[in-house]
C-alpha cells in the first residue's frame, strides 16, 4: 500500500469566498499582514502500490475529488 495526499484548490482566478472571509477576519484577531488566503481540501488515503499508481491517483482526482472546471489539484505519494 502507498499513502497519498491530495490537495484540491479552487483555481486562482475563481473566487474563494471562504479564503476571503478568513483574510478579512485575521487582522481583527491580531494577525496583521496576512494575504492571499485560499482554502481547499486536503485528502489522505491509502491505495495499492503499483507502476500505474500515479495514473490511478490522477484519474481519481480528476474524476471524483476535483471538478476540473473550477478546481486544480496536486498530490504527493509517500511510499
Amino acid at each position: 500500500m502507498a499513502r497519498v495526499s491530495i490537495d484540491v484548490m479552487l483555481k486562482d482566478e475563481i473566487l474563494d469566498p471562504q479564503g476571503q472571509a478568513i483574510e478579512r477576519a485575521l487582522p481583527e484577531l491580531g494577525f496583521a499582514g496576512v494575504a492571499d488566503v485560499r482554502v481547499g481540501k486536503h485528502i489522505e488515503l491509502e491505495l495499492p502500490d503499483g507502476d500505474d499508481l500515479e495514473e490511478r491517483v490522477e484519474a481519481m482526482a480528476s474524476d471524483l475529488l476535483a471538478n476540473p472546471v473550477i478546481e486544480s489539484y496536486t498530490y504527493q505519494v509517500h511510499r
Binding site: K11, E13, I14, L15, D16, P17, A21, V69, I70
Partner: protein
C-alpha cells in the same frame, strides 16, 4: 469624476474587427449594424460589450417578437415585463415582486455553483425592485435516473440551491422535479423568487438626473463567467491562456446576505435614485440599461472598479459576471450617507461614474476612452429576429390511444389494451406513486430551509406555498395577508401539443393556487426550449406563447415577467418544449389556508370541477407503461376560471377540510397524496362510464379532490351548482390503513407510503456530496 473625466478621444479600432466579431458570435449583419451605429470601426471593448448585450440571453432577439403577445397588464399589476421582476399590488399598501429564471447550462458544467448562482441571481432581481426576498421555488428537470451523470448532477444542483438559499437566509418553499432522458446532458434549473415590500418602496431601474453618481456595490470584479467573450483573450492579446477565463461563476451567499440588508437600508432611507443588479454582461449591461431606460447617458471610469485580479482588460471588466454586485445611482448630496450604510454592512461601495446629459454610454480605462456608444443601441435598439417557423408536429400526435387505454400502438403486447385484473391496477397505482414526478418531495425539501423568516404557512407538500407577508422591516407576523405561489410544467404534453400543453400548465398552476384558497392574480414564466434556428422549435415556441397568452387572459393572471432559455439539448436532440409557469395568488387571511392533506376520518370526499374524460395521452401512466402519443383532452378555460372562483369562495367560507388538484397520475395519485399526507385512509367508488384504468389515471384537466365535513356537504353542493360545475361524491376518509377504490384497486397504506416516500431517493439519491 476627476482626472479621467478629461479622457477624450475615439476608442481605438479593434484589429481585424469582422473576424473578431464572428468569433464573438456576432453575425456579419450584426457587426455591420454596430459599424453603422457608431460610424466607425468598433473597439475591442465595444465589440465585447455588444456581443454580450446582443446575445440571445441578454437581448431576447429571437423571442421578443413573440413575447409581446403575452398579456402583461391587469388591475393588480404595478410593474409588468421589462423590469428586473414583475410587481403586483396585493392590497393593504403591500406589493409583491416575483420572477422565475433559468440557470440550465451552468448547472450542467458545475451543478453546485451553477444552481447556487441561479438562486443568487433571481434573488437580486427581486431585491432590485425594492423588495425583501421572502421565498424561493425551484423547478428542476434531470436526465434519466439510469444515465451515468444524473445523480451527480441532481445531487450537486440540490446541494447548490440549498447551499445558497439556506445560507443567504431566504426560505426555499416549493418547486417541482421531473426526469426525462432529453435532459441527460442538459438539466433544467429554474429558480423563482418572491419579494415583499410596501408599495411606496418600489424602485425602478432607470437613471433620472444627470449628475447622479453611479456606485458599484458588492463584491470585487473578477474574471467570472466571461464565457462567450473569452475568445477576445486569444484574439487580441496574443493567445493568453483561455483556460484562465472560466465560464463558471462562484456564489458567495454570505456576501449576498449582507448585500440584501445593505440595499434594503438604502431603500428604506431613500438613498438611491435607481438600482440595477449585475447578472449577465455585468457592468456593460447594468449601465446601459439604467441609462437607456432614463433616456440619458452615463460616463464610467473602469479604473475605479475594484478588481479581484489587477491585470484585467477593459472588455473583461465590462463583461465580467462576478456575483453579488449591484449598481446604484445616488444624488451627490446623499452619496456619503449611502457609502456609510454600505460600510456598516461591510459591503464595498465605490463610485465609478455618473449620469450625463445626452444618450452616450462612455467608458474610460487607463486614461483613454474605450467605449463611446449610444446607450440604447445596446439595449432597446439591438437586432430583433423573426426566425422561420414551422409547425411543431409530434409524429404520434392524434393517435387514438385512449381507446387502447393509453398505451398507444408501439407499446409491448400484454400491457396495452388487454383487460387487467384489479391486482394489476393496484400495482400500477403503486408504481406511479414512486415516479419522481409525483413521489414525496421530502428527500429534496428536507435539504432546504423552508422556515427562515417565520412566514411559511404552507411549504413543500402544499399545492402552492403560502407566505404570510412580513412588515417593512422584515419582521414576521406584521399582517394576516398572504400570497400563494407555485410552479408548474408539463413537458410531455407540450411535446405532443405545445399550445394545449401551455394552456394546461397555466390552468394547473392557477388551480394549485386556488386549491390553497388564494385568488390567482399574476404569472411569471420560464421558456426552456431547444435550438431556435430549427423552425419546428420556433413553431413550438410560438404555439406555447399563444397557448399561454390565451390561458393567462382567461384566468386573469397576466404575465409580469419571465425568462427564455434556448439551445437546451442533449447531444443533437433538443429537449422537449419545456415551459415552466409560476402563478401568484393573494389571500386576505393566511389563517384560512386550505391544506391538501385529508384532515381526519369521516369526511366526505368529492371530485369537483369538470367531469373525468379519457386522458392518458402524455399522462404519467403512459410515460411508465406506453409511449408518448395521442391527443390531449382540451381544457375549458371558462370552466377552469369558474372552478378557481369556486375554490376561493369555499375556502373563504371555511367549508373545505382539504383540496388538492388532480394532475400527474390522475385521481389515483391525487387521492393517495391526500391520504398519505394526512395519515388517513380513504374508501371511494369509481364512477361508471370509463374504463377503470381511465378513471384511475386520466389526467383530464379542471378537477379537484376536496374533503368536506358531513354537515357542510349541502352548502358545498349548492356552491358547486351555482358555479355551473359538477361535484361527484366519491366516498369518505376512513380510520383504516387502506386506499380503496371499490372493486377496482386497493392498496394498503404501508405499500403506498413506501412507494411514494422511496421514489425520489431511489431515483436521484446516492450522489456524492
Amino acid at each position: 469624476m476627476t482626472a479621467n473625466a478629461a479622457a477624450r478621444g475615439t476608442p481605438q479600432p479593434a484589429p481585424a474587427p469582422e473576424k473578431l466579431a464572428g468569433e464573438l458570435g456576432l453575425t456579419p449583419t450584426e457587426h455591420q449594424r454596430i459599424v453603422d451605429t457608431l460610424g466607425r470601426v468598433p473597439s475591442v471593448a465595444e465589440l465585447g460589450a455588444y456581443s454580450v448585450m446582443w446575445s440571445e440571453h441578454a437581448s431576447y432577439k429571437t423571442s421578443k417578437a413573440h413575447l409581446a403577445r403575452l398579456p402583461g397588464e391587469g388591475p393588480a399589476v404595478l410593474v409588468g415585463p421589462g423590469e428586473n421582476a414583475g410587481v403586483v399590488d396585493v392590497g393593504d399598501g403591500l406589493a409583491v415582486a416575483f420572477k422565475i429564471e433559468s440557470h440550465n447550462h451552468p448547472s450542467y458544467v458545475e451543478p453546485f455553483q451553477g444552481a447556487a448562482t441561479g438562486v443568487g441571481g433571481i434573488i437580486r432581481d427581486v431585491l432590485t425592485m425594492g423588495a425583501r426576498p421572502i421565498a424561493i421555488l425551484d423547478a428542476l428537470r434531470f436526465g434519466d435516473p439510469a444515465a451515468p451523470a444524473t445523480r451527480r448532477v441532481a445531487d450537486g444542483v440540490v446541494c447548490g440551491i440549498g447551499g445558497y438559499g439556506n445560507a443567504i437566509g431566504v426560505p426555499t418553499v416549493g418547486g417541482e422535479v421531473d426526469v426525462d432522458a432529453c435532459y441527460d446532458r442538459n438539466p433544467l434549473v429554474n429558480a423563482l423568487c418572491v419579494g415583499a415590500m410596501g408599495r411606496e418602496r418600489l424602485q425602478l431601474a432607470r437613471a433620472e438626473r444627470p449628475g447622479d453618481v453611479a456606485v458599484l456595490i458588492g463584491q470585487p470584479t473578477g474574471r467570472d463567467g466571461i464565457g462567450g467573450a473569452s475568445v477576445l483573450a486569444s484574439a487580441s492579446f496574443g493567445g493568453a491562456d483561455t483556460s484562465k477565463r472560466p465560464n463558471v461563476q462562484v456564489g458567495d451567499p454570505f456576501a449576498g446576505n449582507q448585500l440584501i440588508e445593505a440595499c434594503l437600508q438604502l431603500f428604506a432611507r431613500g438613498l438611491t435614485a435607481g438600482m440595477q443588479d449585475m447578472g449577465a454582461a455585468g457592468i456593460a449591461c447594468s449601465t446601459a440599461e439604467l441609462a437607456a431606460a432614463g433616456g440619458l447617458g452615463m460616463r464610467v471610469d473602469l479604473d475605479r472598479v475594484p478588481l479581484r485580479e489587477p491585470s484585467m482588460a477593459a472588455w473583461e471588466i465590462l463583461c465580467s459576471e462576478s456575483q453579488e454586485r449591484m449598481l446604484a445611482l445616488a444624488h451627490p448630496a446623499q452619496l456619503d450617507e449611502l457609502l456609510a450604510v454600505c460600510r456598516r454592512w461591510e459591503v464595498a461601495a465605490t463610485p465609478i461614474g455618473e449620469v450625463t446629459d445626452g444618450d452616450r454610454l462612455v467608458f474610460t480605462h487607463g486614461g483613454e476612452v474605450v467605449v463611446d456608444v449610444p446607450a440604447a443601441s445596446m439595449t432597446d435598439d439591438g437586432p430583433v429576429y423573426q426566425r422561420p417557423i414551422d409547425a411543431w408536429i409530434h409524429p404520434r400526435a392524434g393517435e387514438d390511444v385512449d381507446a387502447a387505454d393509453g398505451a398507444g400502438a408501439g407499446a409491448e403486447a400484454g400491457q396495452a389494451g388487454a383487460p387487467m385484473a384489479s391486482a394489476d391496477l393496484a400495482a400500477e397505482w403503486a408504481e406511479l406513486l414512486s415516479h419522481p414526478r409525483v413521489a414525496d418531495p421530502t428527500w429534496i425539501a428536507e435539504q432546504y430551509d423552508s422556515a427562515v423568516g417565520s412566514a411559511t404557512v404552507a411549504g413543500p407538500g402544499a399545492d402552492a406555498a403560502v407566505l404570510r407577508l412580513p412588515g417593512a422591516d422584515g419582521m414576521p407576523g406584521a399582517t394576516r395577508r398572504g400570497v400563494a405561489i407555485t410552479t408548474d410544467s408539463a413537458a410531455q404534453r407540450c411535446a405532443l401539443d405545445p399550445a394545449e400543453g401551455a394552456r394546461q400548465i397555466v390552468a394547473e398552476a392557477a388551480r394549485n393556487v386556488a386549491c390553497v384558497g388564494a385568488r390567482p392574480v399574476a404569472a411569471t414564466n420560464c421558456l426552456n426550449f431547444g435550438d431556435p434556428t430549427r423552425p419546428t422549435v420556433m413553431g413550438a415556441f410560438s404555439a406555447t406563447v399563444d397557448g399561454m397568452a390565451e390561458a393567462c387572459r382567461a384566468l386573469g393572471t397576466p404575465v409580469t415577467g419571465g425568462n427564455v432559455s434556448f439551445y437546451n439539448a442533449t447531444g443533437s436532440t433538443d429537449v422537449h418544449p419545456s415551459p415552466v409557469v409560476g402563478v401568484l395568488g393573494v389571500l386576505a387571511d393566511v389563517g384560512a389556508v386550505v391544506p391538501s392533506a385529508f384532515r381526519g376520518a369521516g369526511d366526505r370526499v368529492l371530485l369537483v370541477g369538470a367531469p373525468t374524460r379519457p386522458g392518458l395521452a402524455a399522462s404519467l401512466w403512459q410515460r411508465v407503461y406506453g409511449e408518448l402519443a395521442g391527443s390531449l383532452p382540451p381544457v375549458d378555460l371558462d370552466a377552469e376560471a369558474a372552478l378557481h372562483r369556486l375554490l376561493v369562495g369555499l375556502a373563504g367560507d371555511g367549508l373545505l377540510a382539504s383540496a388538492h388538484d388532480v394532475a400527474d397520475g390522475g385521481l389515483a395519485v391525487a387521492l393517495a397524496e391526500c391520504a398519505l399526507r394526512g395519515g388517513v385512509g380513504v374508501r371511494v367508488t369509481a364512477e361508471a362510464g370509463l374504463s377503470p384504468r381511465q378513471w384511475l389515471f386520466s389526467e383530464s384537466p379542471t378537477r379537484v379532490v376536496v374533503s368536506v365535513a358531513p354537515p357542510e356537504i349541502g352548502q358545498v353542493r349548492h356552491a358547486v351548482e351555482a358555479a355551473g360545475l359538477g361535484a361527484t361524491e366519491l366516498g369518505e376518509t376512513v380510520d383504516e390503513p387502506t386506499l380503496s377504490v371499490d372493486g377496482v384497486a386497493t392498496l394498503d397504506v404501508h405499500t403506498a407510503g413506501r412507494a411514494w416516500r422511496g421514489g425520489l431517493p431511489a431515483a436521484l439519491g446516492g450522489g456524492v456530496s
